[in-house]
């Protein structure tokens, strides 16, 4: 039943399926209509559903995201596309003061069936204003849920689940992943939207990551296996809430954890993950939770420097090797 496709195509199919199933679903954003979306995610939808359901907006991020918030409390199911996460900074008022607060402030009278899709991450030499990771900003906002799909299958499942949900959900899509391929099964039952996935089993250490770096962590794990180090790889799939139980279960087996993130290290997503897992797993951890993260510096334009600011596969291998070797020494003794 499954079919091979690109990440953006999986998102496109998810949009199409939800729009066909429910007339209250509509999408809006810069160039999502006639132009087809800057990463092609909304390609073909304008012709199929018309301008009221696929709306090209002016460049007014806070205004059109706020429009989504208003439409959501009036019974529609908007999917707002913000062209890149960097521009989302302009829309934070609508997301943080609006979407995340209204269900709560109204004493539960209003639901917020809003999806905000945001491409982001470090792509290829887009420079400091187009290569930010802002997951930490969103993670600290009660009321929001954050999905971070890393595969075409998850992109399909999680976007459909996000649209069907009555909560405000941010879908962080990684710009480098749009043109990665994978199998997508349209009929298989999806796991819950915020359940983490164990991508690879291992006994020596647990590598926890999300989005593009969950893919890199798997690559690293395959190479580590050739050296005899068996890493368990967990793809979080969601940054709010986080599926702690899956992480804890893995650490109880491996006793070591490496958190790999593209986010900047200081107060980044990994800081929360490391802190909580240290609290929950202190007794079973044989060494402190380790973090491998982006450097605390704006992304340089220069390609070599850009690569040096975020963890690469070789960096993950090196960090895991150190932890894994320590594990094998302990076990041998």
């Amino acid at each position: 039943m499954s079919q091979e496709m690109l990440y953006w195509q999986a998102l496109n199919r998810a949009m199409d399926h939800e729009m066909a199933a429910d007339e209250s679903v509509f999408t809006l954003g810069e160039d999502v209509g006639l132009y087809g979306g800057s990463y092609r995610v909304t390609e073909g939808l304008y012709a199929k559903y018309g301008e009221w359901r696929v709306r090209d907006t002016p460049i007014s991020e806070n205004g059109f995201t706020g429009l989504g918030v208003g439409a959501a409390i009036a019974g529609a199911r908007p999917v707002v596309e913000i062209m890149t996460i960097n521009f989302m900074l302009l829309a934070l008022d609508s997301i943080v003061n609006g979407a995340a607060k209204i269900p709560f402030m109204s004493g539960g009278q209003f639901k917020m069936p809003l999806v905000v899709r945001v491409p982001g991450g470090v792509a290829r030499q887009l420079a400091a204003q187009h290569a930010q990771r802002l997951e930490h900003t969103l993670m600290n906002v009660p009321g929001l849920r954050i999905a971070v799909p890393s595969t075409p299958q998850d992109a399909y499942w999680q976007l459909r689940q996000a649209i069907a949900s009555d909560d405000p959900i941010i879908v962080l899509e990684h710009e480098v992943l749009y043109f990665t391929k994978g199998q997508v099964d349209f009929v298989a039952e999806a796991p819950p939207m915020h359940r983490a996935a164990v991508r690879r089993e291992g006994r020596d250490l647990t590598i926890i990551s999300y989005s593009r770096h969950a893919v890199l962590a798997q690559e690293a794990a395959e190479q580590l296996a050739k050296e005899g180090i068996e890493a368990e790889v967990i793809d979080l799939r969601s940054l709010r809430p986080i599926d702690w139980d899956t992480c804890v279960k893995s650490i109880e087996k491996t006793h070591r954890v490496l958190i790999v993130e593209e986010d900047c290290r200081f107060a980044g997503a990994g800081a929360e993950i490391a802190a909580t897992l240290t609290e929950r797993c202190f007794d079973v951890l044989e060494m402190p939770a380790q973090r491998l993260a982006g450097l605390d510096i704006p992304t340089p334009f220069n390609g070599a420097l850009e690569a040096a600011t975020i963890p690469q596969v070789a960096d993950i291998i090196a960090a895991a090797r150190q932890i894994g070797q320590a594990a094998q020494t302990t076990k041998a003794a």
């Binding site: 205004g63 208003g70 439409a71 908007p78 008022d93 009278q109």
Partner: protein, 350 residues
């Protein structure tokens, strides 16, 4: 206009005044805490606008919205209980003075970020237009909101897609403490909306009949497919920005000058910066409620005794609201978690 509508509007205005003055009293007693932005002086706008729209229309309001909720029909008990932060309040004690919601009456909330009502209102309007429904959205804002980016972004989209929104600017001349000529390059707000292909007009916001008629016509134009409309209601708040603001930066004679009692006095603005005392307010002469009541008496729509009865009845309902609020239970932390849809406790998954 029907006698019943006239009486109804007078009743609404008297209720708003009595309710807000009583809320101020409860604030000084410590029963209401936090920010409290009061409405006295602006009653003609709430009463005129909200009586001219229909029960199926939507209302989006800002943080000076107690009066809007009252005129919309939310029982004074629920409004007062929300000011007290009680579980029986219209937002269950989670929103407070600045965040009143009444889903049943399509009162889509009070918002405390200046200018935020604009994008939310065009969103509600978009949901209406997309489905081809006949409703209209009334979007309140103050004169301080018109310099926010959201105002311009939203008016542009409303004008572009001809969304069914009536924007109502309650121009009370002050963005907290900064007078309009010191915050806007063009102080006549209604002129600014022409840039977005929206027709705007200015009405005397101290005259409830003018506000009512302007709103009625604007809503008719919207329902006929005429696109968004904009009304600037020129008004004045008698109190400071909030209970935390004594209003001392405003000249004592300004209120008088505003009502054109003696234009010569405006010269005193430059030298006399202080908020008028209760005595000074009293001698200013007819305010919006008094002049409307006089109009109804002159036209024999009402007799003096009826107005007195009305005042007493309203005072009773306000006292009842205070008693109700005082006796209402405090909301629980469990209830607070319950209102946070989907994201219950951080550790709990799904």
């Amino acid at each position: 206009m029907e006698r019943e509508t006239l009486q109804h509007m007078l009743r609404d205005m008297l209720l708003c005044r009595a309710f807000e003055e009583r809320a101020a009293e409860e604030y000084t007693k410590g029963n209401i805490v936090g920010f409290l932005h009061l409405y006295p002086g602006e009653e003609a706008v709430a009463a005129g606008v909200l009586n001219a729209c229909g029960p199926s229309d939507y209302i989006v309001s800002n943080y000076r919205e107690h009066a809007h909720a009252l005129v919309r029909g939310t029982p004074p008990r629920e409004v007062m209980a929300e000011l007290f932060g009680r579980a029986t309040g219209m937002s269950k004690g989670m929103g407070g003075s600045m965040h009143m919601f009444d889903r049943e009456r399509r009162f889509m909330g009070g918002y405390a970020i200046v200018g935020q009502t604009c994008p939310i209102a065009i969103g509600v309007a978009y949901a209406i237009a997309m489905r081809g429904l006949p409703e209209v959205v009334v979007c309140f804002m103050g004169d301080g909101a018109v310099n926010q980016g959201t105002f311009h972004e939203s008016l542009n989209m409303a004008g572009l897609w001809r969304l069914p929104v009536l924007f109502v600017c309650e121009n009370n001349h002050y963005a907290i403490g900064t007078e309009i000529h010191r915050h806007s390059a063009v102080a006549e707000v209604f002129k600014r909306v022409a840039a977005y292909n929206i027709s705007g007009e200015k009405v005397d916001g101290m005259d409830v009949l003018k506000v009512y008629n302007a709103t009625k016509h604007a809503i008719e134009r919207i329902r006929r497919g005429g696109g968004p409309q904009f009304i600037e209601c020129e008004t004045y708040r008698y109190r400071g920005h909030s209970m935390a603001d004594p209003g001392t930066t405003r000249p004592a004679v300004e209120l008088k000058a505003f009502q054109n009692v003696d234009p010569l006095n405006t010269a005193k603005r430059e030298v006399e910066f202080r908020y008028p005392t209760a005595e000074e307010l009293a001698e200013v002469g007819p305010d919006n409620i008094k002049s409307f009541a006089d109009h109804l008496l002159d036209g024999e729509h009402l007799i003096e005794a009826e107005i007195e009865d009305l005042k007493q009845e309203i005072q009773k309902s306000v006292e009842d609201a205070v008693t109700f609020a005082l006796q209402s239970p405090q909301p629980s932390m469990d209830a607070a978690w319950g209102h946070l849809n989907g994201n219950h406790r951080h550790e709990v998954l799904m």
